[in-house]
């Protein structure tokens, strides 16, 4: 399974999102490859990903992709990430 965490610049928010998504996946016992990407790269990467994690503001910029786009509001909230990611990975 491939998951892409997307932010505008690829150094800040997407990296945080990747770290916390990995924590959640580990606790669920799911083996997935999580990649952090900026919005430019993400449009391409999202074509081959199963899931895209991003914020409400950036979701429309990703455009039409086959991946399931999941919007996270609080990047620090493992409960929120767990709640939204679990149905998508199982």
């Amino acid at each position: 399974m491939k998951i892409v965490a997307v932010c505008g610049m690829g150094i800040g928010t997407s990296v945080l999102l990747k770290m916390n998504a990995e924590k959640v996946l580990a606790s669920l016992g799911i083996d997935a490859d999580v990649e952090a990407a900026d919005i430019g790269v993400a449009r391409g990467a999202a074509q081959t990903a199963d899931i895209v994690l991003t914020s409400d503001e950036l979701a429309p910029e990703i455009g039409d992709v086959p991946a399931e786009v999941i919007i996270i509001d609080n990047f620090f909230d493992l409960d929120e990430i767990t709640e939204k990611l679990t149905p998508a990975v199982q």
């Binding site: 505008g8 610049m9 770290m19 900026d38 409400d56 609080n74």
Partner: protein, 151 residues
């Protein structure tokens, strides 16, 4: 936690006043410039990032992670810390208003990950965060962060 965030912060400003989100980001940018991390151009690049992509940098309730991408305006990797006296609206649907702005500059996409982990570790603890935001002086912030690192 092994990494001491107090040593990673190139500047700390407490109880700052900003009239809007641009001014709040400028304060974080000024901190990066004062710490020799970036040139002033980076401050404008952080503002442009929000103008182009929206207030997605407000990554959690009350917290903005101001940043742009690695560029010539970045001299080295670093972080600045600005706590605001009065909360500022960034226009984020669920995480407004902002009381803490972290300025982030990085030379590449990976070198600062340990630092970001430390930031996330500290700020995702509500009690710790409340104490940090209540700090009146930069020394108090440093002492709190150093205390966390030795635990």
């Amino acid at each position: 936690m092994t990494l001491n965030l107090a040593e990673e912060l190139s500047s700390i400003t407490t109880k700052a006043t900003a009239s809007d989100w641009r001014e709040a980001i400028r304060l974080a940018g000024d901190g990066l410039v004062a710490g020799g991390v970036t040139t002033e151009a980076y401050t404008e690049e952080m503002i442009t990032a929000v103008e182009e992509h929206g207030p997605y940098i407000v990554i959690a309730p009350g917290i903005a992670l101001a940043h742009s991408r690695p560029a010539e305006s970045v001299l080295k990797g670093g972080l600045s810390w600005v706590s605001l006296e009065t909360p500022v609206e960034f226009g984020h649907a669920s995480n407004d208003p902002v009381t803490l702005v972290i300025g982030l500059a990085a030379l590449d996409h990976t070198a600062h990950i340990e630092v970001l982990k430390a930031v996330a570790g500290v700020l995702s603890n509500k009690e710790v965060r409340a104490r940090l935001e209540a700090a009146e002086t930069p020394d108090q912030v440093r002492d709190l962060l150093s205390g966390l690192a030795t635990k």
